[in-house]
């Protein structure tokens, strides 16, 4: 029925295939949540340490392999990000590592994540390439981001290309708009004036206090009337948990060098070329150190760094001020905590105020 490939039969399968009894699979894998089991957590921590890795809090679930009670392999899953993959040095071999990765990919699908991302040292790319992960960007000598599909970024860029506009100056803004303020409105209006066309993206990750749906809707209303602007939904490839994990944990006050680089290189190498973006616009950042750092990094990775893709000029637009103080979304969130809607009113367009009042008047926020 099918044509077969006799060449394969010339050699016996490699010995490891048969090195163990095969009634049951060679290795049994368990799915565990070590956050509730300190002893197990310590075991995983020790294995990771042996492999030069740190235990990360916030991992939803681990796949482990523990034949005869000895932990020899683990890999963690946080949402759609594969983390903390480690194998006991004396147990390393193609078979165990491939099984381990296969297990975690199956587990992720069961948990509703088929599109996975993975951070690894650049020298491990080849190994993970053999596990069905494809390199997205590499920060030389530092880290590589990979995804488990060969068509992910490509098909995303193909979709973006349909929105491409011709012109000498094509601008882009990526905003979280948490929530949309007069500051955002001013930034979009100023950028649009300077460009032949402007592309505005709303960060899609639903990790903010205000839902993505609401944030997107408020941007849509807020920029109405500004010409030559396309509003885009955000994606996994842009300020998401996958491309920029630290951004969503900024309470920790720490933004790694590599984290912003990965996100910015994705923009420069894939998104900007797809849309023909020549300029990226940002507001100056007087308050938030994370965002300020991001703006600084932007100048390096989009503009200065040699990457083999066209440079994107970064333009910082000074923030608009209301009554002498710059308008910022973080200030609005602070006022929201205090239910100070009178002062919020001055900083945001009417639609934002209405939504905040409707939805958050009675909500009790957990302390940040």
């Amino acid at each position: 029925m099918h044509m077969e490939r006799p060449e394969r039969f010339d050699v016996l399968p490699p010995a490891p295939l048969w090195s163990n009894p095969i009634v049951l699979d060679d290795f049994e894998f368990l799915t565990v949540d070590p956050s509730a089991d300190p002893a197990l957590q310590a075991e995983i921590r020790a294995l990771l340490a042996k492999c030069g890795l740190d235990y990360e809090d916030g991992i939803d679930v681990f796949v482990i392999c523990r034949p005869q009670g000895r932990l020899i392999a683990c890999v963690g899953l946080e949402g759609n990000i594969v983390k903390c993959a480690a194998i006991e040095p004396d147990c390393r071999g193609e078979s165990l590592s491939l099984k381990l990765l296969g297990e975690v990919v199956h587990l992720a699908v069961e948990r509703g994540h088929s599109h996975l991302f993975l951070y690894t040292a650049p020298e491990n790319q080849t190994f993970f390439r053999g596990c069905g992960f494809y390199p997205l960007v590499e920060v030389p000598n530092y880290v590589s981001l990979m995804e488990n599909t060969p068509v992910g970024i490509r098909s995303y860029c193909n979709k973006l290309k349909t929105e491409r506009k011709e012109g000498a100056t094509i601008g882009a803004i990526v905003m979280n708009a948490n929530p949309f303020t007069w500051g955002h409105q001013y930034l979009v209006a100023e950028a649009a004036k300077a460009c032949d066309w402007l592309h505005v993206f709303v960060v899609a990750e639903d990790a903010s206090r205000i839902s993505y749906r609401d944030r997107y809707r408020l941007v849509e209303l807020g920029i109405r009337g500004i010409d030559r602007v396309t509003l885009h939904h955000g994606s996994q490839y842009m300020v998401s948990r996958a491309t920029f994990p630290a951004y969503f944990f900024k309470e920790k006050g720490m933004v790694g060098h590599c984290c912003t680089a990965v996100d910015l290189l994705l923009f420069r190498n894939f998104i900007a070329p797809a849309l023909g973006v020549t300029h990226r616009y940002v507001g100056t950042e007087p308050f938030c150190p994370t965002t300020r750092k991001y703006n600084e990094d932007m100048k390096y990775w989009l503009q200065a760094a040699e990457t083999g893709t066209p440079r994107v000029t970064v333009i910082e637009i000074p923030r608009t001020a209301v009554m002498g103080s710059p308008v910022s979304a973080s200030e609005v969130r602070r006022l929201l905590d205090a239910r100070d809607f009178d002062r919020i009113e001055a900083l945001v367009p009417p639609a934002t105020l209405e939504l905040l009042y409707e939805k958050y008047r009675t909500v009790c926020f957990p302390p940040a």
């Binding site: 029925m1 099918h2 044509m3 077969e4 490939r5 394969r8 399968p13 490699p14 295939l17 193609e94 078979s95 491939l98 099984k99 990765l101 296969g102 990919v105 199956h106 699908v109 088929s114 053999g130 596990c131 069905g132 599909t149 060969p150 068509v151 098909s155």
Partner: protein
């Protein structure tokens, strides 16, 4: 058969393959094949994949194949498994599976 959800079948081990299927985003059938033996067997693998999908009457969706040098029979079986899982199909029609 219509793929209604993302589904996975197979492993990354030698002589096997991993198949991922996903619903179509734009009504087309996209097949992406990666193989360690793509140069010698790429065309043949694609033929097996297209024949198998044809018999199952899969006309749209995204099919990604990560081949580790599997035999045709394994390619066929893994692909059928992924499609049946992705179509949430429990009843097996053996005439389209052989």
């Amino acid at each position: 058969m219509k793929i209604v959800k993302e589904a996975l079948a197979g492993t990354l081990e030698s002589s096997d393959l991993m198949v991922k299927v996903a619903p179509a985003s734009d009504g087309t059938l996209d097949i992406v094949i990666n193989s360690e033996v793509i140069r010698q067997f790429g065309a043949q693998i694609e033929k097996v994949v297209r024949d198998t999908l044809g018999k199952l009457d899969v006309t749209e969706g995204l099919v990604v194949i990560e081949d580790k040098g599997a035999l045709d029979c394994a390619i066929c079986a893994r692909l059928q498994t992924a499609v049946l899982r992705g179509a949430e199909c429990q009843d097996l029609d053996w005439s389209v599976l052989s």
